[in-house]
Symmetry: C2
Subunit: 369 residues, 2 copies
């Protein structure tokens, strides 16, 4: 069939942006060349996870570039710093979207066994819900991942992982950056994780906290109000909606809660204080921990061991939060609480959190009851 419309007449084609620039270019050895056209800039730096390559060199065509040493297969966040101004790579559509600092990402592909690689396996579906929250007083989104085998008319009901993002993330972070859906697709295809739903709500109970940028973290009252209202919205609004719309179990043994950074703290705070709701808890690189743990978890004692099938706490050794997480673990142990403590290498980064999810998911909803 050759009778096609072929002549495109968009005026934009003639603009300066028509000049194609390839960035990032991933080489066969894992080295990456980054490029930016900025003929008027005086200094352009690359800031990229996993490499120390910094200053970029200007070519005669006004294009700045730098090539890194070979990098291990992974997905790295990066940005350019142009005369002190941070910016995304305009040539690269792969963004690390974030409410406060959107970066670019480069994917150095690796073997199919890496949990985040998209393989030709059955894929689940990610559903985006929007509802008006009476508790938050605003329109709130939440995402739901249903596994490939999911059948709304099935007799069996599925377990659910509530998976929480970090401060400054949006509700899509665990999908668009964390690749939670791809990780579960792979684990399920390999028979390593039980088919489960993953629910990813927006984690701000008071949107003023994030409207204040990073300063929101220091507004103690707002921060406190935010986490409290988030818990209320999750328990009273999100979970009931999920359990109404989807074929999921409402048994505590079939509910897990986990998260990263702020979401790790939320998971501990919500989960440890509500063992009637959650039997599985994961906390990744938790931030926002009050060092006065007695205050945060007033009722905790050994009796929770019989109810919690898993309390999984992980943090990177190069993460500034490792000390606080270690303190929490020590305190929990001093209270006789059983837990799995997973200190790993790594920083405060999705390169760590993707691996944590891939480690945690196979442990969930296995028969420990």
């Amino acid at each position: 069939m050759s009778n096609l419309p072929v002549v495109l007449a968009l005026s934009v084609v003639t603009s300066a942006s028509a000049q194609t620039l390839v960035s990032p270019e991933v080489h066969a050895d894992g080295g990456v060349t980054f490029r930016l056209r900025a003929p008027n800039a005086k200094e352009v730096l690359l800031r990229c996870e996993g490499t120390k390559a910094g200053p970029m060199q200007k070519g005669k065509d006004g294009v700045w570039s730098v090539t890194t040493e070979p990098m291990k297969p992974d997905i790295y966040a990066y940005s350019f710093q142009v005369d002190g101004l941070r910016m995304i790579d305009p040539a690269n559509p792969l963004l690390k979207y974030n409410l406060l600092n959107t970066d670019s990402q480069v994917h150095v592909p690796g073997p199919a066994t890496l949990p985040w690689e998209i393989n030709n396996v059955p894929h689940g579906v990610v559903h985006r819900h929007l509802y008006h929250s009476a508790i938050v007083g605003d329109d709130c989104p939440f995402l739901v991942y249903t596994p490939p085998a999911y059948d709304p008319a099935a007799k069996e009901s599925y377990p659910v992982l509530y998976l929480l993002h970090g401060y400054s993330d949006a509700e899509d972070a665990w999908v668009s950056v964390g690749r939670a859906n791809i990780i579960l697709d792979n684990l399920i295809a390999q028979g390593r994780a039980k088919p489960m739903l993953i629910v990813m709500p927006l984690g701000y109970g008071n949107k003023e906290v994030i409207a204040n940028g990073w300063a929101g973290l220091r507004k103690t009252g707002v921060w406190q109000d935010s986490i409290e209202k988030f818990r209320a919205a999750l328990l009273q609004e999100v979970i009931p909606q999920v359990e109404k719309v989807y074929r999921v179990s409402a048994d505590r043994n079939d509910r897990a809660i986990a998260g990263l950074s702020m979401g790790g703290t939320q998971s501990l705070f919500i989960g440890l204080n509500a063992p009637d709701r959650f039997a599985w808890i994961g906390a990744f690189s938790s931030g926002g921990l009050d060092a006065n743990f007695e205050k945060a978890y007033p009722a905790i004692n050994e009796s929770i061991n019989a109810r919690l099938h898993l309390l999984w706490i992980a943090c990177g050794q190069q993460d500034g939060l490792i000390g606080l997480n270690q303190k929490l673990v020590d305190w929990l142990k001093s209270k006789g609480i059983k837990l799995t403590w997973v200190p790993t290498s790594g920083t405060h980064s999705f390169t760590v959190w993707r691996r944590y999810l891939a480690e945690l998911a196979p442990l969930l909803f296995q028969d420990k009851r």
Copy 2:
């Protein structure tokens, strides 16, 4: 409940980015102040739809700013140009995501009657599917909007609008920028549109076309291959999946196809050449039209009038494509084809396309059969 974790210890808090800058700031009169911290820049320009405000002024604190005249309620795309370098507004999380030119957006809110305003009405759900396309030879996403009343177990089956994006858009453009889901939520709540599903596939049948940036439009062979394979993937892969998974009618009277720019051309090309599949066609600001219409639509004649319930063609008078669209309309009329021609004010922009969708959707699937 006051036993909360309140002290956040993220190292990022102490970075320079902790300084909160508000941009854009929408004033009560609709004027907008844009701000960018760029102490080392020599010239910063604002490029924003709907205003001629250009040069920004530098303050003593290194923050550049400009305030526009009052702007009509709408959602406008904008970017900054810093010493010639185009960039998004780093202080603003509302992006206009695009594969070739991601911009920022500013929402000047208006009355609830504007079709894209989020109102406290029942909201539909947007589902993201991913499958491996044998035709495209790649992993391909498509989005599905289900209306608020959607019930997978209902006896009735729903009609479907296949809604196509423009060149350089990703599959999410009609949702994240076009607000198609919000527009339909509102129209359905008002009883003005029939509850329908909207399916939004990624529109590149050959991904080489978009990998070449804007230059891809001029690679005739690749462009032709892309539109041909896109049609095949839509008809042979996407539609069967949708009709398997969702409670939708497979009757041609219940299938519409519409799109913007490249998607308008695809809708005409696919729809007019397959009246056995689609009874409703919409083409917004179509780009990529071959002026040799005889070649693109070889079999078209008056007999299609009895089968097509609607052929709705619209374009903005300030759009560079108005001439070509007018020519197409004249040619179709010369062939005796019945159509609705809707020349409006406006440019090649989502400010136009949101309105077109809000006008078209109420016309679809009404009893004309």
